[in-house]
């Protein structure tokens, strides 16, 4: 079943085309990876899907419903949650309270929200930090917190913006387990990632962006072998290594 359908979406910033005639589809329960060099328009694409930016043209359909240009909170209500590249926790309140704010997306009662938050916090293995103030957490855990908060909104689709960027090997391993646990609950995921090593491992399909356009799409091994991709993205990197 098609969960998300991004059709011919374009976004300009005063002449700079950030996303250009971009289309892709996403099946329920899959993990889609989006890769591309810096400035390729990956985060802009997330901002378009989640309503943080209005699209210039094109349509976005979620569960058969047109959600183009809805407000961010309305899209969250429909069942799409997101994290940010740089975590922006609600610093002055505790980790559990942060997650509860996500949980209030579906419930009104505080006790129910706390229950949902406790489920989310244990799913990402952050329970022991529940009462710590969010701004006291190390950045790696703030990223995990962001995942837990967005999970508490009970989404069908979760958009993760570079959850692995800047993490130590231990934290990377921990986050991989978290992503895997989330997949097991049946949540569909779109993941923006720079690290090829990780995206090759977790993604079912990969979309490659370059200058706001889709230059390749397919299974990880297909994409990795695509000459266009190597030229635009991997090529430079590999050339540097040698």
């Amino acid at each position: 079943m098609k969960l998300l359908d991004v059709d011919n979406v374009t976004k300009n910033f005063k002449g700079l085309v950030a996303v250009k005639n971009f289309s892709f589809e996403l099946e329920k329960g899959k993990l889609l990876g989006i890769i591309g060099p810096n400035g390729a328009g990956k985060t802009t694409l997330f901002n378009l899907i989640t309503g943080f930016y209005p699209v210039d043209s094109g349509t976005i359909t979620f569960k058969g419903e047109d959600i183009t240009n809805l407000k961010p909170h309305e899209i969250c209500r429909k069942g799409i949650a997101r994290t940010f590249q740089i975590p922006k926790p609600l610093g002055a309140i505790s980790v559990l309270d942060n997650i509860m704010i996500g949980a209030f997306n579906r419930v009104t009662s505080t006790s129910k929200a706390r229950k949902i938050a406790e489920e989310s916090i244990s799913l990402v293995a952050l329970s022991q930090y529940g009462s710590v103030k969010a701004n006291k957490l190390p950045v790696a855990f703030q990223k995990t917190l962001a995942i837990a908060s967005s999970l508490a909104t009970q989404p069908k689709l979760l958009l993760l913006d570079e959850p692995f960027a800047g993490l130590s090997p231990t934290d990377t391993e921990r986050t991989l387990i978290t992503v895997d646990n989330i997949r097991k609950t049946g949540v569909t995921i779109i993941l923006i990632e720079h690290l090829m090593r990780i995206i090759m491992k977790v993604a079912d399909r990969i979309v490659v962006m370059h200058h706001g356009e889709k230059i390749s799409e397919g299974k990880p091994e297909e994409v990795a072998g695509d000459p266009k991709v190597i030229k635009a993205y991997l090529g430079e990197k590999y050339a540097l290594r040698k």
Binding site: F84, L90, G91, A92, G102, F104, T108, T110
Partner: protein, 335 residues
């Protein structure tokens, strides 16, 4: 584990005990002291605690710092007073009318400002408040710069909200404050309260987590303005004289945030604690230094404000609860 739980519950019951004792003390205080001076200080404490709590909703919880709350207090005061003077309406009904009118004006005039952030919002509230004040100052129908005097209609009448003794005012102010604290207590622990804090901490994150930021800002604005209007009516009936400068001016607007900031903004008890610290300072200064040193309390306010900003940015309440927490954890470790 069990021991910690018992410790917690005993702490909770101790807090409850303390709260009850304070309440009882506040309730019987007027019976113990016949001094009208003491009663006046207490009434002013309740008054400013209430007004600062009102400010705290929009500016402490949601983080939209306002220097314009005098406008709401003034609108409340003027609405009930004009209804009383022209139509003989009971100030209690006037209070409700004031809440409705102030909410409408707040929504209409302050709504566009909610888009602004940080100091731009703060500055714009000064401008809007000043416009409202000037309109009142230049409109003869509402008394103009002379203001309005409420004539003594009855020596003591609950209907007309007029009493010759200060004791009824004391109990009315105390009741208003307690009801307000109860409402705020509920608010703080509800979805609304959580969403308010989320908006203050990070609007983008709040949006991503499903918070309708605009809607909740309006809710905070209307709640905040409504409470200000309520205490405005109290102001009018207590002093029986209002004019644009005293009810809508800079001074009252700043006094509506000073106790909250010094006590601890964005907390339930911060503004109340702040009022209990500041108001006695003010009245003592006025009474004992009034002749020669007029305005000396402002110097002390200034010193307090600077000290709080440096040593306790979270206000007295924030500092105290932080200290208590470290003491507790030390004690636990020692056990």
């Amino acid at each position: 584990m069990l021991r910690i739980k018992m410790l917690r519950s005993s702490l909770k019951s101790k807090q409850l005990e303390l709260l009850l004792m304070t309440l009882i003390a506040l309730c019987i205080a007027p019976l113990m002291s016949k001094s009208t001076y003491f009663l006046h200080v207490m009434i002013m404490i309740f008054f400013f605690a209430f007004a600062n709590n009102a400010w705290n909703i929009l500016s402490g919880y949601v983080g939209l710092v306002s220097f314009g709350h005098g406008a709401f207090l003034g609108l409340g005061a003027y609405t009930s007073t004009l209804l009383l003077l022209n139509f003989g309406v009971s100030p209690w009904i006037g209070m409700i009318a004031g809440v409705i009118l102030t909410s409408i004006v707040a929504a209409a005039l302050f709504l566009p400002l909610l888009k602004l952030s940080g100091h731009f919002f703060a500055l714009s509230t000064i401008a809007v408040r000043e416009i409202i004040r000037l309109v009142f100052e230049y409109t003869p129908y509402v008394g103009g710069a002379m203001g309005l005097t409420i004539p003594i209609i009855a020596s003591s009448s609950l209907y007309y909200f007029q009493f010759s003794s200060k004791i009824p005012y004391y109990y009315i102010a105390l009741t208003l404050l307690l009801v307000q604290i109860l409402i705020l207590y509920k608010m703080e622990r509800s979805k609304v309260g959580y969403y308010f804090i989320a908006i203050r901490e990070n609007e983008e994150t709040a949006k991503a987590l499903g918070v309708d930021v605009k809607r909740y800002k309006i809710i905070a604005l209307v709640l905040s303005a409504s409470f200000s209007a309520v205490i405005g009516t109290f102001y009018a009936q207590y002093f029986l004289y209002i004019h644009p400068n005293s009810t809508m001016g800079v001074l009252i607007s700043v006094e509506m945030l000073l106790s909250a900031v010094i006590g601890g903004s964005g907390t339930l008890l911060g503004p109340v604690i702040g009022a209990f610290v500041l108001i006695p300072v003010e009245t003592v200064c006025r009474v004992y230094l009034g002749g020669m040193w007029e305005g000396f309390h402002l110097v002390i306010y200034g010193i307090l404000l600077i000290s709080v900003s440096i040593f306790a940015p979270g206000g007295i309440y924030g500092k105290a609860s932080g200290l208590l927490e470290t003491l507790r954890s030390k004690w636990r470790k020692g056990k």
